[in-house]
Symmetry: C2
Subunit: 190 residues, 2 copies
């Protein structure tokens, strides 16, 4: 077997998700994932540190999009506008063609408490990265933490609506409505 | 040794916290905690399921105060006012005389990633309890989740300020300012 397998990462990731959904995450072995796409366990471990990593490999990329989005906001942007820019940038990570995958992943994670805990920690790390990005712009606490956490809340609510059965709206459209709803809800002139 | 030990729970809890702070959570044994206050391991396990439970035994009570606070809000209260009532009720759990304990506990948890994960899960459970309380009042998603998560964000930011070195303001005073700041930050007329 050659060292380089075209599309191996994607094939392994797809097979893993199908098996986790069909058999359960705990019950699936790396050997089964590799076998499903005609590869070896050794090849699997060239792409992923472990079974969980298949589900969380994208988290760093998502975090980077948040941070880059915040960095691209105008210098004089208000804190909440920096956060809006960050969350809007993350929408690129969720095009329509990713929705079926994202939905399946969310169902697998919701069914397994340790995976759910890891997902919570990733959301916490995302908020911390956004707090750091805001502080880099001279925005202090408590404003930085409030703004960043509100951004992550909007992100999570948007994501839940985006993968909900029957949804046909884009991530960015939903996200803009959720930000508006947050403003109406918490604003002084509600 | 008699079955009933006056104040045993409080003495065990205090000794545990001192030992976790001095030696580290992982390095402390239940035997050491019990010994520090002249009790047996068996007595410890009559009050706490394990070492972690000493740190998280209050979480259900805090959650109940949130839920009771939400339930006590007027029938026609706006979603954010229900959440404010819930967070305000939780302030009873954080009187000035609890601040030294809360600070020590926070330092211990921040130093230990598995404890941090459990704390995150407790915050997530708290938000879910508040979402359920809002839905019981006929408030639907996404408003219920946005309002509940915003309440937990305000709670966490308030708590961090309350235990910060040099703080001498009460929990409720800080919390009201943080809610106002959130409104200014996210509101339509910022």
């Amino acid at each position: 077997m050659s060292r380089w397998e075209p599309g191996a990462r994607e094939r392994l990731g797809g097979a893993a998700l199908d098996l986790y959904a069909a058999k359960g995450f705990e019950e699936t072995t790396v050997a089964e994932i590799a076998q499903a796409v005609g590869l070896t366990e050794r090849t699997f471990f060239r792409y992923f540190a472990d079974k969980r990593e298949v589900l969380f490999a994208g988290s760093e990329l998502l975090e980077q999009q948040f941070v880059d989005g915040a960095a691209a906001a105008p210098n004089d942007a208000d804190p909440i506008d920096v956060v809006k820019a960050a969350v809007a940038a993350s929408a690129e990570y969720f095009p329509e063609e990713r929705r079926a995958y994202a939905t399946k992943r969310a169902v697998i994670i919701a069914a397994n408490p340790p995976l759910m805990e890891r997902e919570l920690r990733k959301m916490s790390t995302l908020a911390e990265a956004l707090v750091a990005a805001l502080k880099n712009r001279g925005i202090h606490d408590p404003t930085a933490t409030l703004a960043a956490q509100s951004g992550v809340t909007v992100f999570r609510v948007t994501f839940a609506q985006w993968i909900a059965a029957g949804n046909d709206r884009s991530f960015i459209d939903i996200e803009q409505d959720v930000f508006a709803e947050l403003g109406t809800l918490t604003g002084p002139n509600r």
